[in-house]
Point group: C2
């Protein structure tokens, strides 16, 4: 399984993904699920959950198309993020429905979060489905999650508002990821973590965080301590001594 | 769907359940999922998730058996909590496999959390499966959850330790319930909430909490405020201004 988060704040976009893959409980591995591209007038960040073969084939095709001078559509020729999402969706369908495979019994689909900015256009964040179609997050809850989405959702629902700062959104993404890591063995480190600030047209910060890395362990540790402080300050029930 | 929590602390047991039932998205209703019994030498608290017909039939059978003087096994004749769990498991199997129904296509099973104490014995907490067998929670994580268990798990994993106080465990149960209510529409109020203190042999506190009830809204509100305070006190990233 997998857990990926994309958050769109007014100041920028945050994207995070875990690295654990498993083909059965006894076949666990580590692969990056993130693809980043910031060249020229555009910054594009993609993360994926679902069938690893399909996800890797899509990333490979994206790279191949970027290096192919005769290709009509690639990340550089897309005029806007709708076209980027449609392009990723098309590759997703292509690689998840190979001829001769019974796709009724084997799940080959993948899901993607695609975010970033093209010069002169607004920042965008899309969720691309295995069927190739895509959605934007609601303005009132400007985040998207894919994979094992339930454990980390409550903290996002409490903190991510349209006016959240990019710093708080980043810390919230790390806590959401940490909560999922702690409660679900199929989601694991390291965490690929990218911050893109609006109109910079290049990635502001890109890190591969392990549990003991300063940035991650500080947020995770202060969160755990902070929670206990809240518990200490709660009013007591009548039946408590 | 449903969300129920049972926590066993050194000082006592906490059990909470939501009240939303749905037979399809457009057929939503409110039913209590809790059964309590504190008569004589024993206090028994039961909550349930799964097929509502089966759950209600089990509760009905428990009551019928209590009033039947010729019955061999009921909640009063069980010698210990293993027998209580086995008895509930037996009723569960009986009511979830009626003759003439194709149970391959219709899911009739229910799951139960059974907790409490019989005089002179230790407090107990069990999870009874649709198959009738049952487990205890691990000593290191003394809680059980059934139904929509993922949203509310991270806070339990961070707060519920073998040494947690019964007050903190109660507040944690309410926050875990609140997180699930906020993130999942299939879990809804009111919340049946029971506290049993060790060796009291009667229920210490039993409430049916609505969202605007003082006890629930205070914990939920202070939690939301406390979280934002933690966010304000976090160290900043290098890339933040």
């Amino acid at each position: 399984m997998t857990y990926c988060i994309g958050i769109k704040t007014k100041e920028g976009i945050i994207v995070a993904s875990d690295s654990r893959t498993n083909a059965g409980f006894d076949n666990v591995n580590i692969y990056s699920k993130m693809f980043t591209y910031d060249v020229g007038d555009r910054t594009i960040i993609i993360v994926t959950s679902g069938n690893l073969g399909t996800s890797q084939a899509v990333y490979k095709s994206i790279e191949k198309d970027l290096n192919d001078k005769n290709v009509i559509k690639n990340l550089n020729t897309c005029e806007d993020f709708d076209q980027v999402a449609k392009y990723v969706g098309g590759l997703n369908i292509k690689h998840s429905s190979p001829k001769g495979i019974n796709t009724d019994t084997v799940l080959l689909g993948s899901t993607f979060i695609v975010g970033g900015q093209i010069k002169g256009q607004p920042m965008e964040l899309f969720l691309v489905y295995p069927q190739g179609n895509y959605i934007k997050p609601a303005d009132s809850k400007p985040y998207l999650v894919i994979g094992e989405v339930k454990y980390g959702k409550p903290i996002l629902d409490r903190v991510i508002t349209p006016d959240v700062s990019i710093g708080d959104a980043s810390r919230c993404a790390l806590i959401s990821m940490d909560s999922t890591l702690k409660s679900d063995l199929t989601v694991g480190p390291p965490i690929d973590f990218v911050v893109y600030k609006k109109d910079e047209l290049k990635i502001t910060s890109q890190k591969c965080l392990n549990l003991n890395d300063k940035e991650f362990s500080k947020v995770s540790g202060e969160w755990s301590e902070g929670i206990l402080k809240i518990f200490n300050s709660f009013p007591r029930f009548d039946w408590e001594k």
